[in-house]
Subunit: 235 residues, 2 copies
């Protein structure tokens, strides 16, 4: 099998930094994890919080700590450091070679999407962000790794797109349309969702928006791992 | 301007894990860093070492520590932990928004390449891996960020490709040919170098091979940050 991950990210209009942080790391026993956090408020303060949460989770994952335990640790750590005064959402999507499972960890009121082929399941069990209360637990969904599975996670900037203009983003319908449109690549799904939100926000996003798409497909081609990153760089 | 980063990576033949680690992180003051390490020997032990070195460097960069100081810290830390008995190469390539510079940090006897358009400069000042001696310093090259700059760094698996079969990899000539071939994308350069090495090794790489290409280009298109990852996943 092949795991493909696509990330698309844009900052709130007229801020120099997105307050969201998304990072991808290899798991020590094989496989890969994507960690996404959206810090409370926006700009530098939010970036500081989301970076702290993602760093904490990644450091623990690198030591072999399970995703759920890493999420709980990130929550307790932020709660202790900031006395429950700041919060951050947290999503972890892991493809774990050891357990041969796909693990979706949510500390985020915003739902996530799990699809088999074009059959969508909305992961919307109630879930709290990290850092606000002692002992916050993530909602975890664990399914076998198999070809044809797609996971889409996103920050609330995506779901709130268009609020200002009165035409709200319907993420589920968009994802369904994109999955029907075989064979949409993970990058084209992430880009299409972001572009749609960007247009609904009149090209001036009212919040940071991040979209992550993870797809497990049949193995195609060589054994090479590849990563491509593109970052606009202002002088 | 836009920064594009491409990574291509393959493990030694018949090992389940590459001993090389490559990770990309955002810099706290803006910009991005790529960190690459090649741990001594191969397989699980090497992976453990290279992960340790990359984690250490990334944690420090995330705190705002300068690249050179992060490299020295990683060396001292590995030296202290393993009493100088294990070594790892380390390369950091950063595009720093604060200083508006491109910083190439080398603790690696294998050279790196810095090109302006198709004019190549080989960065081959003597440089030691981290972890072997107390007080090891990196070789640092810092140049202004400008469109048209390309940096290529790689592990010694690339330079040693073909050794077994008698036809040795000439990285410099390959890169020159790829840069002459305008407009080669960073991913096509990384892929072409890796594929050439793979063929010289008779499709059975004698060592882990990692290639990183960083390119600064004119700003094109939108303000979206994008990342794509592809990982073959064995069950």
């Amino acid at each position: 099998m092949d795991v493909q991950i696509a990330v698309a990210k844009i900052g709130k209009y007229a801020t120099s930094n997105s307050g969201d942080t998304v990072e991808v790391v290899e798991r020590p026993q094989g496989g890969v994890s994507v960690v996404m956090a959206d810090g409370q408020t926006s700009g530098r303060g939010a970036k500081w919080i989301s970076t702290l949460v993602v760093r904490k989770v990644i450091a623990l994952l690198a030591e072999g700590v399970r995703d759920g335990a890493a999420a709980r640790a990130a929550s307790d750590s932020l709660f202790t450091e900031r006395q429950g005064k700041v919060s951050s959402t947290l999503n972890i999507v892991s493809v774990d070679r050891q357990t041969q499972t796909l693990v979706i960890t949510r500390n985020n009121p915003t739902p996530a999407i799990l699809a088999y082929g074009d059959k969508i399941r909305l992961l919307d069990e109630p879930s709290l962000p990290v850092g606000v209360r002692r002992g916050t637990r993530p909602v975890i969904t664990e399914v076998p790794v198999q070809a044809g599975v797609t996971v889409v996670v996103y920050t609330d900037g995506l779901t709130h797109a268009g609020d200002r203009c009165g035409e709200r983003m319907d993420v589920l319908t968009c994802v369904q349309a994109l999955l029907d449109d075989d064979p949409a690549s993970p990058q084209s799904i992430a880009d299409a969702l972001l572009n749609h939100a960007y247009r609904l926000d009149d090209k001036r996003p009212v919040d940071d928006i991040s979209v992550v798409v993870v797809r497990v497909g049949e193995h195609e081609g060589d054994e090479v791992r590849r990563m491509t990153v593109r970052i606009p760089f202002s002088s």
